[in-house]
Symmetry: C2
Subunit: 386 residues, 2 copies
């Protein structure tokens, strides 16, 4: 049975070139990059080269890149780091209802610690209104945290408009770019981000590494204290193989972006058109045009998205109902509920996120099998009177 | 030129068997372990197998192991997690003057946040007196943090005696076992630890992964909030290759411990005896017998340890003056100062930490070259009147 992986928003296979770049840093060039001798210095040089690659891809200075263990740590670092640092003067955080759990749970923790948190609503496509951001800002606001693109429905947020608001108000803007770095041309100045989180494993890099872009001058506390690594902003022996792999993955993403995007858009549009055409009462979730080039997220009335995924899994197709980070929860997605989609319809949602290995044949196979699966599940559904 | 690596306390080369175990989890078994489909489930199974291996090596239940990005995160998680959770009733932390920066800086941060921190002194060997711990505990004490063995001088702390004190007083004991896990037979019940930090890259596993043992029932906050991974105790997509490698490294360490330790003890004792015999005014730092089997730490009067290391580096020998985490600092080691060693003598210290690849020839080479290096540097030293 051919395996078809269509859950690239959850994670991606590490690019073979990335693994190749990482390999020497396990057992050959294994020195501690903070050590002064040659075996450390050569690894230090490789880290700094990776930092330059990541910085170049984001249009940042290398000194503004702080390597972390991934996107979730980067989000926690940004939000808690700024909040606790500015607490005395500013104890108010603004975010949106559709953020990743890494942002929402960090904010919820701050609330428990006595901070004030405003969670802004979104429209039916998952977009936040920059005017709502403006209205929510007070003299006590430290930080606005808005994701670049949503990990479930793929909607791309109007970050440039939001950053004009935060700049004017003199508050920091943190952008969770975990879904867009690598996929879109993410440039920190163009977006106007003061902080920006990236995860390597979402862009064909390894799991366990990512970074936080921290604009020069941003005041914040570390999340992880200890040694002087990362300019005293993130302690702990640097994950040298992971960081080298991350650098290579960012470089490859930039080099291959045009080609990757063209293919993804073509396959995604074919998938969306095919599903809407072949399956009755199927609806595309998220914005029709302002969406990630690889995201096709549907709701199928009367059935459970989970059952669709299990049936697809039997055929070798990996797709998901939403975020892997909350797959153990029985609650419907907070993102879909924030869009105003009723509980039972939210439960009928399935996300397909394409990647660089997907082909026309993959999409054809899915378009052939999916209508039958949905029809079969509906025939067993007490809700369906088709 | 043959390369001789003698800085295993800073980091170790990843064991080839560990790299082999990790490799499939980059590009083949790359599914997100939190995903419900087959490609996720097979990775989930590998993670749980690794968790069982780590737990078995520590004598813990798998459910008590929380994977982290390394030892520093584990220390921060333990100390801040307990402190912020118990803050209302107990806002006092006790630690020692010779802890790793990951512990000391986390405690310093807590102090800034309004906690009270007691830093206990140590004796001339770097040992803390369990009676001092007892006297320092108050009704407001939440946590005592003491390392198992010191990363610079190798002294092994009397953890079992200390845990009798903390148990009796009803306060938590956190043990930084970064230098001992893998090297000694670290068992959480025997030690009496409530929390215990381990780093994979110190025991021939990969950089960027480690764990915190959390005894069932210990009350604490997460350090990194977000998805429901690690039983809601540590969010973020699991570093599957790293965790699998960590599990394999722990397994190998247990299987090879007897053999590794016998060889290390023999080489270490040969090195110590040889240096003390051949170099005048050389002193062994740390405890003569209660020390790590791979640690030989000397001070050479009248010269700089840094210069010794640079001269050794020219000959292909990697050794260090102390912790890699503070190598950028010009201050003498806080550990040596805590032992009562004067500034200028602390500056003359060099640490050799042996590993499984070191041989008799390596030690012979060092014993042949080191006396000449020390003599040469002394001949140039204004302090030396030899």
């Amino acid at each position: 049975m051919k395996k078809i992986y269509m859950d690239h928003a959850a994670t991606t296979p590490t690019h073979p070139e990335v693994v190749k770049a990482m390999l020497p840093y396990f057992s050959e060039r294994y020195g501690n990059p903070s050590s002064i001798y040659q075996a450390g210095a050569e690894v230090r040089a490789a880290l700094e080269e990776a930092r330059s690659k990541v910085a170049a891809a984001l249009g940042a200075d290398p000194g503004e890149i702080v390597f972390t263990s991934g996107g979730t740590e980067a989000d926690n670092f940004a939000i808690k780091g700024v909040a606790f640092r500015l607490r005395e003067e500013r104890d108010h955080i603004i975010t949106t209802a559709v953020e990743h759990h890494a942002v929402l749970e960090a904010c919820r923790y701050l609330e428990k610690c006595g901070f004030k948190v405003t969670v802004l609503p979104v429209d039916g496509y998952g977009m936040v209104d920059p005017d709502e951001v403006r209205k929510a800002i007070t003299s006590r606001t430290a930080l606005v945290a808005v994701m670049h693109a949503n990990n479930e429905i793929g909607t791309v947020m109007p970050i440039e408009e939001i950053s004009r608001v935060t700049r004017e108000a003199g508050v920091y803007l943190h952008v969770d770019a975990v879904q867009t770095a690598g996929a879109l041309d993410v440039k920190v100045d163009k977006l106007g981000a003061d902080l920006l989180a990236v995860s390597a494993h979402k862009l064909y890099g390894p799991k366990g590494v990512g970074c936080l872009y921290v604009r020069r001058g941003v005041k914040m506390h570390p999340l992880i204290h200890g040694g002087a690594q990362e300019g005293k902003r993130r302690a702990g022996t640097e994950n040298a193989p992971g960081i080298v792999g991350f650098g290579r993955a960012m470089e490859l993403a930039a080099a291959e972006r045009e080609e990757r995007t063209a293919q993804l858009l073509r396959l995604r549009d074919k998938l969306i058109a095919g599903v809407l055409e072949r399956i009755p009462e199927a609806v595309l979730n998220g914005h029709p045009t302002r969406r990630l080039p690889n995201n096709a997220h549907f709701r199928f009335r009367y059935i459970e998205g989970e059952s669709v995924c299990l049936n697809l899994d039997f055929l070798g197709v990996a797709a998901s109902t939403g975020s892997a980070c909350s797959s153990e929860s029985l609650e419907p997605s907070h993102v879909l509920l924030a869009l105003g989609i009723p509980h039972e319809e939210a439960h009928g949602s399935v996300r397909f996120t394409l990647g660089r290995e997907n082909t026309d044949e993959d999409v054809d196979f899915l378009l052939e099998e999916l209508p039958g699966i949905v029809a079969k599940l509906r025939s067993m559904s007490p809700l369906y009177r088709g």
